[in-house]
Symmetry: C2
Subunit: 236 residues, 2 copies
Amino acid sequence: MTAKSKTSTSEGAPGAVWFRPEKQSRTKPLLTQDKIVSAAVELLDRDGVRQLSMRKLADRLQAHATSLYWHVSTKDDVLDLALDAVFGEVRLPVESGPSWRDDIIAFMAELRRVLLDHPWAAALASTRPLAGPNALARSEFVYAALAAAGFGRADVLAAGAAVSNYVIGSVSAESVWRHQDEAGTRSALAEHLRAREADYPALAGNFPADGGDWQAHFDRGAQYLVAGMAATAGLE
Amino acid sequence: MTAKSKTSTSEGAPGAVWFRPEKQSRTKPLLTQDKIVSAAVELLDRDGVRQLSMRKLADRLQAHATSLYWHVSTKDDVLDLALDAVFGEVRLPVESGPSWRDDIIAFMAELRRVLLDHPWAAALASTRPLAGPNALARSEFVYAALAAAGFGRADVLAAGAAVSNYVIGSVSAESVWRHQDEAGTRSALAEHLRAREADYPALAGNFPADGGDWQAHFDRGAQYLVAGMAATAGLE
DNA sequence: ACCTGAACACCGTTCAAGT
DNA sequence: ACCTGAACACCGTTCAAGT
């Protein structure tokens, strides 16, 4: 009986290895943190932060929601990791150029570009500490550039914060208007302002009919900031 | 029989009005949009945006969650209304002063004060169009001040946006660090940076041990912005 | 007109159980 | 070590029903 069952499975027989499914595939996990994070970024890009759930995320990975918790301890972890992955897309120059102003301006434009690529990211960045390795590396770049330019400690701290906060605040606003029903709410607001021109004369008079040039406004604001930094700290 | 029941309830008898519960209390709704919104602001202040649910909000008003939907059509409505109520706390001067720079600086400080009073508000403002009457009135003030100062249209638009975006971005970051486990994450980050000083020399060298002077950094950044606006537009 | 109650289709997360 | 399944305590919202 025992002998029969042994031979019927032929477990230890010579050559049997080749006909057995690779044990490797069992030892290598189906899910990894990296896979979870990239799937999260894809879903966030497609549907936004409010639509992301652990169940949908697991579905996309052909796994069960509860399986995610082996690799990640909460949904907040997923969001923190996804956000830092986005910061990882910000390209930094290998070394700083001759003009700190150009470096800072270029950094702001690049950060804006990446955040606009992921319309959920800027608003999400407003809700949590940016302490992931990619976010820190980007902060390090700004601080180092400012310190190298000759800014004192107080200016490095204030200017470093101002640069990030201006970009994140601006891109949040832009993402809201660009992705949350582009034409709809904007034209509704335009109509609303026209109807109440007496209450909001300056607003009604300046509100851009065509939607406005986000990039131009952003760049101009960035110029204000660096020009003010230069003037206040006496650096050119 | 019918006569008896009539007299037993004495519905129409003279003097009966005084002993009957006021019909007014039935005709006047228990819930109003205003009550819902102020309760929402209280709960948001106490527990944050993630803890707010329609059920908890209704509980606090001694009503059922489903009753709220008579006065408000979605939870998003509640959030929009609560946020605009906060903007209503921003005090604007009755008329602008002699210096547009002082007016703008004062506005930024006042907006920051109010947003810090409601730590959920700045981050929430990053996620939706700010089109409520109070938010619009505050934008109107900024645009009007800039236009009166002599800024051209492009500068009014860019500077008006920059002012709001800088404040909202800055207060979001400050609220995160001040309210989301004040000491905990900050000291964890300090420790983390110290351990990786080689990776983040500028960051580690400048990271404030005591938590930093948020107000001072904010004010300095505001100065950069208005100084840059003045210089770029050639106005003093 | 305003409020309630039941119901639907979801959530994040825990934990024992499987392999 | 990694994944599944059942379960818990929630969600926002709809809609028929009550008053």
